[in-house]
């Protein structure tokens, strides 16, 4: 039977030995902190399940169940799924019949626009990053810095010329326009991250492949690219998080057909004239959170490994 350093280990709280591991004690401490940090989000999610009248109550209702009487009733609300339904079907005018809100379209738009632009930026950006890394030009650092500066200006500065440009070319309100724009947004970050990854790889493998007769194209696809998959995943997740919630450009550049959820959310919530529709907003946001949440969760390991590789050794 193993013997223990202290009672903490005997109870399984601290993991014995191992300099880099911790036991359930750590889990408990971190769980408390994480849950507290998560509370504002949790409240939004709960609000999505609240019946309309319970939404704005004093005191604010906090829990869907009373946990066998642990939580006093005035803090409890009875959960309902109605709000999720009204995301997609509700009466737009007071006393009117419920009609389709078009949110299914908006969700679709958000998914299509965000994933296309992130993927497009990933493709173009990775190629460019490879170019910057393997075939450096004289002004490399300057070019990279200029690319970084494209992220520095607030949206409002470029919005007017972009609107005008789109109007002239006829891209206003189209998918292509906004996807191209978002691609440009993500390019700066993608190039920068992927270049760091490519910089880390050892050139020997590539040279060996060239000597063996591989064309440069093959070297890129079969040798360099597979080694940076973690970086691709990390860049994808970061880009997705940033693009998913973009509001200002979507507001000004998307049309009724190509509207994204953040814009529709804003509209649905503030146009009622009756004040903010909390439960509706919460329901929309909860649904909207799910895709990006899932993607981040499943790519978590790559994300962490990816950030390490790309940014530690400069």
């Amino acid at each position: 039977m193993a013997e223990h350093n202290s009672i903490w280990e005997a109870l399984g709280f601290r993991k014995a030995s191992g300099v880099g591991e911790a036991g359930w004690g750590r889990t408990l401490a971190v769980a408390i902190v994480s849950l507290i940090y998560f509370l504002p989000v949790l409240f939004i999610i709960f609000t999505a399940f609240k019946p309309q009248d319970a939404a704005l109550s004093v005191p604010p209702t906090l829990s869907p169940t009373s946990f066998f009487g642990l939580i006093p009733d005035k803090f409890v609300f009875s959960p309902t799924l109605d709000n999720f339904g009204s995301v997609f079907m509700r009466s737009m005018t007071t006393g009117g019949a419920p009609e389709a809100t078009g949110f299914d379209r908006y969700f679709f738009n958000s998914i299509v626009i965000a994933s296309s632009s992130v993927l497009l930026a990933l493709v173009i950006g990775t190629l460019a990053a490879f170019g910057f890394s393997r075939y450096p030009l004289k002004g490399n650092d300057t070019y990279l810095f200029i690319i970084l500066t494209t992220r520095m200006l607030p949206a409002i500065v470029v919005i007017i010329p972009v609107i005008l440009m789109f109007r002239v070319v006829g891209l206003s309100g189209s998918y292509t326009g906004i996807i191209l724009l978002y691609t440009a947004f993500n390019l700066a970050f993608t190039i920068w991250m992927m270049k760091s990854f490519f910089d880390e790889l050892s050139l020997d493998v590539e040279d060996a492949a060239r000597i063996d007769g591989s064309s440069d194209v093959k070297v890129f696809f079969k040798i360099a690219l597979p080694q940076v998959i973690a970086g691709l995943a990390a860049t994808f997740v970061f880009g997705l998080i940033l693009t998913w919630n973009e509001f200002l450009f979507a507001l000004l550049l998307s049309g009724p057909d190509t509207r994204t959820v953040p814009v529709a959310m804003n509209q649905a919530v503030s146009s009622g004239g009756r004040g903010t529709d909390w439960t509706l907003l919460a329901a929309i946001e909860t649904l909207f959170l799910i895709p990006v949440f899932l993607v981040t969760f499943f790519l978590q390991n790559h994300l962490l490994r990816g950030v390490t590789f790309g940014t530690v050794k400069r």
């Binding site: 039977m1 193993a2 013997e3 223990h4 350093n5 014995a16 030995s17 300099v19």
Partner: protein, 362 residues
């Protein structure tokens, strides 16, 4: 009183047993090598002595005190890691000084000790450089310097020379041995290189699959291996281990059928205790004399591959039964490929191993 002792130490990772019932005693001033192939548990054993792993059962005793509960900080040991573990953000001098901070010395004393150690390890020129700016050999010396700057209970080395090239290894072997002799502390060195073990250790503990197979002086493990594994592990070129049928024993000779040939080889008297059974006969490549004609105690084989090794030549021969025999002859003995050889084993260097793989010896 710097000694290390481990008693019936076992380490399990889940259902995997890395080390089983290891027993070892290291006296002050002794250098014991843990030798074995990768995965045999030698590094795990070392880490248990260091306190970086907790023994599942058994006792780890350093300087007479049971240390199972204590973390590495409290054991007062020094360790040289396989990857050197040099602090990348500190200079060479600062690296050496790090262990001294907890000893409460005055700055002057600290500096004096650092300088002393630096001159022993020939690092005085690079004291102000960073670890990534010095050569591999210097890195290795720095790792050792950091260990000897203190006055610990004992020294632990984890594959200290594995990352050096052949020439450096040769010189470092000598240097380390010299330094260790001067310090008279118990030392445990882990290595997979038998040459290192044979030259640096006062005793060698050979491990396989978590078990210590044999502990003995270099001479003992070479001349008197306790089982087939130790016999095959120690000695280059590898000992020939040939399966044979033991028929009978008489006149100090064992009658065997070996590689399809009947021979009578001189063997240790303990072999007489064996019943007729399958045995393994171990003969070192240098233990053969080649004779012109077949005799009752020679093995017939045909030379297949000749490898000149400088002062000696290694011959790979094949018996009629298809077995391989390695023979080492001095270089002036010329052998041609395809030549028939009759090999007489030296009875003093012939080992018999029973069916269980254990050596049969008086």
């Amino acid at each position: 009183m710097s000694t290390i002792e481990i008693r019936k130490v076992t380490k399990q990772f889940g259902s995997f047993t890395a080390v089983k019932d290891a027993d070892l005693k290291v006296e002050a001033g002794e250098v014991v090598c843990l030798l074995g192939p990768s995965g045999c548990g030698k590094t795990t054993t070392l880490r248990m002595i260091a306190g970086l792993e907790r023994a599942t059962s058994g006792d780890v005793i350093i300087a007479g005190q049971r240390m199972n509960e204590l973390p590495p900080q409290k054991r007062d040991i020094a360790m040289v890691f396989q990857f050197y573990a040099l602090y990348p953000a500190l200079t060479v001098g600062q690296n050496i000084a790090m262990p001294l901070h907890s000893e409460g010395l005055s700055k002057a004393d600290q500096d004096a000790r650092v300088m002393k150690v630096a001159s022993i390890m020939h690092l005085t020129d690079v004291l102000d450089r960073m670890p990534n700016q010095i050569s591999e050999g210097e890195k290795q010396r720095l790792a050792v310097a950091r260990a000897i700057v203190r006055d610990p209970n004992c020294f632990l080395f984890d594959e200290p020379l594995s990352r050096l090239d052949v020439e450096l290894r040769h010189s470092m072997r000598g240097q380390i041995k010299e330094v260790l002799t001067g310090l008279s502390k118990a030392t445990v060195i882990v290595t997979h290189d038998q040459l290192e073990a044979l030259t640096m250790a006062s005793r060698i503990a050979i491990m396989k699959d978590g078990v210590i197979e044999q502990v003995g002086t270099p001479h003992e493990v070479f001349a008197k291996p306790t089982n087939v594994f130790v016999a095959s592990f120690i000695g280059t070129p590898q000992m020939n281990l040939v399966e044979a049928d033991l028929r009978s024993f008489g006149d100090g000779k064992a009658s065997v059928v070996l590689a399809g040939q009947s021979l009578a080889i001189a063997a240790d008297p303990a072999v007489s205790r064996l019943k007729p059974s399958k045995v393994t006969v171990g003969i070192r490549p240098r233990a053969f004399t080649t004779v012109q004609d077949k005799a009752g105690d020679t093995i017939a084989a045909q030379a297949e591959l000749i490898e000149p090794m400088g002062a000696e030549t290694l011959i790979h021969a094949r018996t009629s039964a298809g077995g391989d025999i390695r023979v080492v002859v001095p270089r002036d003995k010329r052998v041609k490929v395809g030549e028939a050889l009759h090999l007489r084993p030296d009875p003093r260097q012939t080992h018999f191993f029973g069916e269980d793989g254990k050596a049969v010896r008086a």
